[in-house]
């Protein structure tokens, strides 16, 4: 079931949550809505679910080509997993999962035996067999999250929506559940949209990522596309750590003070525009001596932190700007930079954006 959103806007009083948003979620994909808080991602999810309504006369939402704008929440065939699970705390796990089947009108309601089968099948799917008699308060956060998912899946939704599904969990459980959700999706293939503010989570789990900011979609694409070819400074900045240098564009040439660029920028400019240069910490290298004929930037090592998957080096350039460099361990063993040492920085890759908005 594909989801097609065209030109949706939403305002709450004076606050504009969504501005003219259009989006296509292809059938069977797992899509992440990624953005900082207040970017409109949750509002968009709630509009898809029917919990919220878009501004009048502002476009349409279609499921598989059919407009669902007019249908009530219960009739869209949407499974929704709430950020704080919203489990019925006075019901057992079994009754929670069975709820959607039990409240069906008598004519379409499955028999008790069928309901029990379905619940057991779902418990197997979420790997929580044997917990059906427990109450939500007796479960861990990760278990509650999976029960909430099973409850949403029980009614065989055409679309699964998840609001910050791992937001309330601690780091380790989060990681586990992330991989589990990915595997689950590969198994059941229901069109899914989840909201997150965690770029790592989006990059790891989603087929497609929709980056949102201030009620607009900044970029959409595969994790590779948004990470390696960010459409603008916001996306670049939001997806991972960057070093930012301010400069100007004069007659097609960029000037960022003493930042040495070899090839460079993806955006041309005409005259005198301000521009920003983004360099990811792993796109910088450290040299003990400048290479002949190639630009390099002098800097002083301030701090070296080698515990972790990469070695993090903090440096300061001649203008007093702090610069972060991530070195592979092999490179670090070779260089052995020490605090106070004068070195040269080489930019391996960078992206420049002419400033047309502020972050």
């Amino acid at each position: 079931m594909s989801i097609e959103i065209s030109r949706i806007s939403k305002t709450f009083g004076k606050f504009t949550a969504l501005r003219d948003v259009s989006l296509l979620v292809p059938d069977g994909e797992l899509v992440a809505l990624l953005g900082p808080s207040g970017s409109g991602k949750t509002t968009l999810l709630r509009i898809i679910s029917g919990l919220e309504q878009a501004d009048e006369g502002s476009g349409a939402i279609k499921f598989h080509g059919n407009d669902v704008g007019g249908s009530a929440v219960g009739e869209r065939g949407v499974g929704f997993v709430f950020q704080h699970y919203a489990l019925f705390k006075h019901m057992t796990v079994f009754e929670n999962i069975a709820f959607g089947l039990r409240v069906r009108p008598r004519a379409t309601r499955p028999t008790n035996a069928k309901i029990a089968d379905r619940v057991r099948e779902l418990l197997r799917l979420i790997q929580l067999e044997g917990l059906e008699k427990r109450y939500p308060t007796q479960l861990s956060g990760g278990q509650r999250q999976r029960i909430a998912l099973a409850r949403a899946l029980a009614v065989e939704p055409r679309v699964l929506l998840l609001d910050e599904p791992f937001g309330a969990l601690d780091a380790q459980v989060r990681q586990e559940l992330r991989r589990w959700l990915r595997r689950l999706h590969d198994e059941i293939h229901v069109t899914s949209v989840f909201v997150t503010h965690d770029q790592e989570e989006a990059l790891e789990v989603a087929d497609r990522i929709v980056v949102m900011n201030q009620g607009r979609i900044e970029q959409q694409g595969t994790p590779d596309e948004v990470f390696h070819q960010p459409a603008n400074a916001f996306v670049m900045n939001f997806l991972g750590q960057v070093n930012l240098f301010h400069g100007r564009v004069e007659e097609g040439k960029a000037d960022f003070g003493n930042v040495a660029l070899s090839p460079a920028a993806n955006t041309g400019g005409t005259g005198g525009q301000k521009a920003s240069l983004f360099v990811r910490p792993h796109d910088l290298d450290i040299r003990k001596t400048p290479e002949e004929g190639k630009p390099a930037m002098p800097a002083t090592v301030r701090r070296v932190q080698s515990a972790g998957p990469v070695v993090r080096v903090e440096l300061e350039d001649a203008l007093g700007r702090s610069i972060q460099v991530h070195l592979p361990h092999e490179r670090h063993r070779l260089l052995k930079p020490v605090p106070g040492e004068g070195v040269f920085l080489v930019v391996k890759d960078a992206r420049m954006f002419v400033d047309d908005f502020s972050i």
């Binding site: 305002t11 919990l51 501004d55 009048e56 009530a72």
Partner: protein
């Protein structure tokens, strides 16, 4: 173009049903009867309204009601603070029972508390008989000598507050509880106590222990810590509790009617006066006084809400 809506969109069902029922019920039970009060008042001319609500007997009842309610609330603020503090901060045998008992004035019908208090403080009651003995004993004289400067100041020559206060502390210092203004204060203290304790308890509970430790670590002694650190934090809650207790006391009827003796000009509180007017079939008079009382209680509650709003804003800042 945006339509201005009466109601924001919501997926929740039942708006029409609950709105309809709620308004229907409120109209029947509250709005229509309340409007009767307004219309009845409207039948009075302004001059007549003024005359009724400012007559000597009515003015005396205002002074008495607000004065005694104020003193009752002060007593409650002081002792209620200590009770709330002990309940939250200390563990001692009987704590739970004391905690539960604080709600008694709410749970006990006011007529029952009225006759019970009267029974205790009447001249032949458990406390009253000791007061009688004390009044008869020679101790009075020596105490009077000690008390003379204060009594003199209280008596004063000017009218208003001090003349009211002389009623409280009779020049001859004969202490009578029941059938006197003291009795009214006792009844008002009784019914107002839960308000002070229950507003203070959560505030004391929220008081960060670290705050006191910090003050102590900076060299403040116990009293300084209390006055400069604890009191400023608890003051809004104390003031709210004081106000609620005061508001409740001003409107109280049941527990006062028995203990006060109901002497016009001396121990007749305003709610009692309203009933007296009704019994004389002076409906217009009763209504006029009721309107004054109603406005007064709204002003008090508005002030309390203002305190709460102010402290709420303060906290967020």
């Amino acid at each position: 173009m945006k339509k201005i809506r009466f109601k924001q969109h919501s997926v929740m069902p039942g708006f029409g049903l609950t709105m309809g029922y709620t308004l229907f019920y409120l109209s029947l039970i509250v709005l229509i009867p309340l409007s009767a009060l307004v219309f009845k008042t409207a039948t009075l001319t302004w001059a007549r309204f003024w005359e009724v609500t400012t007559s000597e007997r009515v003015m005396a009842s205002y002074r008495l009601t607000f004065g005694t309610a104020l003193l009752g609330a002060v007593v409650n603020a002081f002792f209620g603070f200590i009770v709330a503090w002990c309940l939250v901060r200390y563990r001692f045998p009987g704590r739970r029972i004391m905690d539960a008992l604080v709600d008694l004035p709410f749970a006990l019908p006011t007529a029952v508390s009225g006759i019970a208090l009267t029974a205790i403080y009447a001249p032949n009651g458990w406390v009253g008989e000791h007061l009688e003995k004390w009044n008869a004993s020679g101790l009075r004289g020596s105490l009077e000598a000690w008390y003379a400067p204060v009594a003199g100041w209280v008596r004063g020559d000017n009218t208003g507050w001090s003349s009211y206060a002389t009623g409280l502390v009779p020049p001859d210092l004969e202490i009578k509880a029941a059938y006197s203004q003291l009795g009214i204060i006792i009844a008002m203290t009784f019914i107002g106590l839960p308000f002070v304790v229950r507003t203070l308890q959560p505030a004391i509970q929220e008081l960060e222990a670290e705050l006191e430790d910090a003050a102590a670590s900076l060299g403040a002694d116990r009293w300084q810590t209390f006055r400069r650190v604890i009191m400023p934090v608890l003051f809004p809650a104390l003031l709210t509790g004081f106000g609620l207790s005061f508001a409740r006391a001003v409107g109280e009827y049941g527990s006062i009617v028995f203990i006060s003796g109901n002497m016009p000009m001396k121990t007749e509180v305003t709610p009692l006066l309203i009933v007296a007017k009704l019994e004389e079939y002076d409906y217009a008079g009763a209504t006029a006084i009721a309107v004054v009382m109603l406005v007064a209680s709204f002003v008090i509650l508005f002030a309390i809400n203002l305190i709460q709003w102010w402290t709420g804003a303060h906290k967020r800042a």
